[in-house]
């Protein structure tokens, strides 16, 4: 039987099982501990899973549960496709990366990412001068940080991801409502909550020495 593990994200140490369908039809989501953190995993029969929309959605569904279930928790998310040969290879990597992971978990503790896209109407009416600054200044005040994403059409006047404290979620939701009410011609696409994907960038590599 394969010992391969598909990984979803890293959290503060906690043991749980989720009854949610994982990547490649996995029916059991559980945690593997290393020191004072846990990795959310499921069993899989390969270390290089093919990418399908269904699997990407399953990866996200599991993370949504981890992020929100039972009061919610801080998650350092894995990119899609991070399957390990065994629990031992996973722990080996966690051991090597433990300082960076600890520091990252501490830095993003209690936060989620929220996405905000604001579009002008399709009829081509030019947006009122200054809307962009008014809106983004307001959301910036309610968030810890933000990243600017690509404005890929002229109609898109705001495309940002915000790092928001869980305690500020209600206030942020209310601000989105108010913006929608004030500028009812604008189309607001409000997404999340996400694990802080746009605020965490970790690359773990392996080097061999001396060819032997």
């Amino acid at each position: 039987m394969s010992e391969n593990l598909y990984t979803y994200g890293i959290i503060e140490k906690e043991d749980f099982e989720l009854d949610v369908e994982g990547v490649a039809g996995a029916d059991r989501i559980y945690t593997v501990d290393y020191k004072n953190f846990s990795t959310v995993v499921s069993d899989i029969d390969t270390t290089e899973p093919d990418r399908t929309d269904e699997r990407v959605e399953a990866h996200n569904t599991v993370l949504q549960h981890v992020l929100e279930y039972d009061g919610g928790r801080t998650v350092v998310p894995m990119s899609f496709g991070m399957a390990f040969k065994s629990e031992r290879t996973l722990k080996h990597v966690l051991r090597g990366a433990r300082r960076a992971l600890r520091s990252t978990l501490n830095n993003i503790e209690g936060t989620v990412e929220l996405g905000v896209k604001i579009l002008t109407p399709a009829d081509g009416a030019a947006p009122q001068e200054g809307i962009q600054a008014t809106v983004t200044d307001r959301l910036a005040e309610l968030s810890i940080n933000e990243t600017e994403n690509d404005l890929f059409t002229d109609r898109l006047i705001v495309n940002k991801s915000y790092l928001v404290d869980r305690d500020q979620r209600d206030v942020f939701d209310a601000a989105i409502d108010e913006i929608g009410a004030e500028y009812d011609e604008l189309i607001i696409n409000y997404t999340g909550p996400w694990p802080p994907y746009n605020f965490v960038d970790i690359h773990i590599g392996a080097e061999q020495r001396g060819g032997g």
Partner: protein, 76 residues
Amino acid sequence: MAQPDSSSLAEVLDRVLDKGIVVDVFARVSLVGIEILTVEARVVVSSVDTFLHYAEEIAKIEQAELTAGAEAAPEV
């Protein structure tokens, strides 16, 4: 009150495909032959980015584990 939505595949793809923790395949499949794990982390929290660079010497660690050669051979 407005509630964010997390069901859009495009939004999910935007995030999970090239963001988050990426681990090189060799580090995911093998215990033998890896002498150094390199870790580069960029965490953007306040207005200041935190850059962390680590190179962990792991060759001498857990020799007992490394002797399990058969199990540790990379799967192809």
